[in-house]
């Protein structure tokens, strides 16, 4: 097995993305609120693209019912999602900085946990919690941008999933309509597309492409 060093990984990214982009990604800190279907996929993309630091928050543990769509493995069932995901991310980039918060996010702790992040990905399951996170960030963290996921349930075409700038500091990814309560289930493929939109919007923001 060939040894990957910090330097070879850096050089490989520079060859693909260019030095300017790599440095912008490397110096970034991005938060992920919720490490389920959306959050676990977002984290993998951001780690691969070389985001320097991720703040990961989820109180939950990996369950066998998560394996159909979330980036966890059978041997991780029972582990805290934050810790299980951190293990996977370190296999992609052993030098990534990770801050793990295995706690329930509330209006009281969100601004402290994500205070160092310029962008937060909202990746919760419940609509009420999505709204709570957005309101808390926009009122308590005056410079932070939220990239949120809303509407990725069911088997409707993935072509319905879009990214749009919905507010001054909110980018909304999803179809905006398919609620899991109505559409029955979340599928790995469609959730991954929405997570891809979110991760890609983070990339664009970090590279200065805001619209």
């Amino acid at each position: 097995m060939e040894n990957v060093t910090k330097q070879t990984l850096y050089q490989a990214r520079v060859e693909r993305h260019g030095e300017v982009a790599v440095q912008k990604m490397q110096s970034a800190c991005v938060g992920i609120a919720g490490l389920g279907g959306l959050g676990s996929h977002i984290a993998l993309s951001l780690a691969r693209m070389g985001v320097g630091k991720l703040v990961l928050a989820d109180f939950d543990r990996v369950d066998v019912t998560n394996l159909h769509r979330q980036q966890y493995f059978t041997e991780q069932v029972g582990l805290l999602k934050a810790e299980a995901l951190a293990d996977t991310l370190r296999k992609i980039d052993p030098w990534i900085q990770l801050e793990l918060h295995p706690v329930r996010l509330t209006p009281e702790n969100i601004s402290t946990i994500f205070g160092s992040c310029s962008i937060i990905c909202e990746a919760f399951d419940k609509a009420e919690e999505k709204a709570m996170l957005l309101e808390t960030v926009l009122t308590k963290l005056p410079h932070t941008v939220v990239v949120s996921g809303s509407g990725m349930a069911g088997t409707v075409s993935v072509n319905e999933i879009q990214t749009r700038k919905a507010m001054k500091r909110l980018y909304l990814c999803g179809d905006g309509e398919t609620d899991v309560a109505e559409y029955g289930s979340l599928f790995a493929s469609r959730v991954a597309v929405c997570a891809g939109h979110q991760a890609h919007m983070v990339l664009r923001l970090l590279l200065g492409e805001a619209e």
Binding site: G34, G36, G37, L38, G39, A123, F124, D125, K126, A127, E128, K130, A131, L134, E135, L138, T139, S148, G149, S150, G151, M152, A153, A166, M167, K168, L170, L172, G174, G176, E177, T178, D179, V180, A181, Y183, L186, V191
Partner: protein
Amino acid sequence: MKWNGKQITLETPVTVLEFLQQQGYNAQRVAVERNGEIVRRSDFEKELLRDEDTVEVVTFVGGG
């Protein structure tokens, strides 16, 4: 008032909560931006929307 990009007429000011209820929104699942500033949920009952305002109402659905 400009509401999610559409021009509508508000004859008299209404509270954010009244407006959301009139339009059939679930107030627990939305975020409201008025003239570029987020309106806190705890202020939905007292903050007024006026005809000259620009309002964005974002609705969230479950799943993640």
